[in-house]
Amino acid sequence: MVKFLKPNKAVIVLQGRFAGRKAVIVRSFDEGTRDRPYGHCLVAGIGKYPKKVIRKDSAKKTAKKSRVKAFIKLVNYSHIMPTRYTLDVDLKDVVTLDALQSRDKKVTAAKETKARFEERFKTGKNRWFFSKLRYDSNVIRLSLIKSWVKQEKSEERVQTVGGLQ
């Protein structure tokens, strides 16, 4: 009975071009709007995950590998899998409905989101969010750790994703 689709919740996008990508809810519209009469939310997610950096990488290579590509999207609640993780990066001023109106606004908003994501990634926090979700072809395998009855239990779940290679 607790509302859990709130801002700063980490979710996994299940459908569309960004299926299988992790995202964070920036703003949620539980009742929907005129144009979208269903529950949906504005998410900012990772388009391209940062690559693995090894010890012998030069500074230039590390910088290149730590790049993140971000996306901003309005997603239906049923195309999202909520997780128990949160990510508090302040994106409310950058990621707005207004930013989705035109192409250039979207690009600038995405660039700013990318900068904030990269900054957070480099601190080494929220490691789960910035790691790629491993899944088989045509199927997303979610390893979600639940605290369940005072114990941490690892559970693997599988969910079908439409249109994913």
Binding site: V2, R84, R157
Partner: protein, 112 residues
Amino acid sequence: MVAVKKSKKTHESINNRLALVMKSGKYTLGYKTVLHSLRNSKGKLILLSNNCPPLRKSEIEYYAMLAKVGVHHFNGNNVDLGTACGKYFRVSCLSIIDPGDSDIIKTLPGDH
């Protein structure tokens, strides 16, 4: 943890309570609406049949864990759960939104 074999008595009482909810309360049947009720925090108790596919079962349990809602694994398959709801179709999962006169919500979530 050893699963306690549900005695016939308690099973009947669950059915009675469910029947009371069907009569006097609000509920939704089916996977899609169960997830809806969990998302907008309207659901108060979820019941799953025992032949609910394990992926779907864990997904609903995960949502319920996030929403802090109890899940009860009904001691019977979807045919039995449908019958318990007084319906002539199979019901794999159902969500109780308003228990009406029933005390099902207070008495059931002893097991997760």
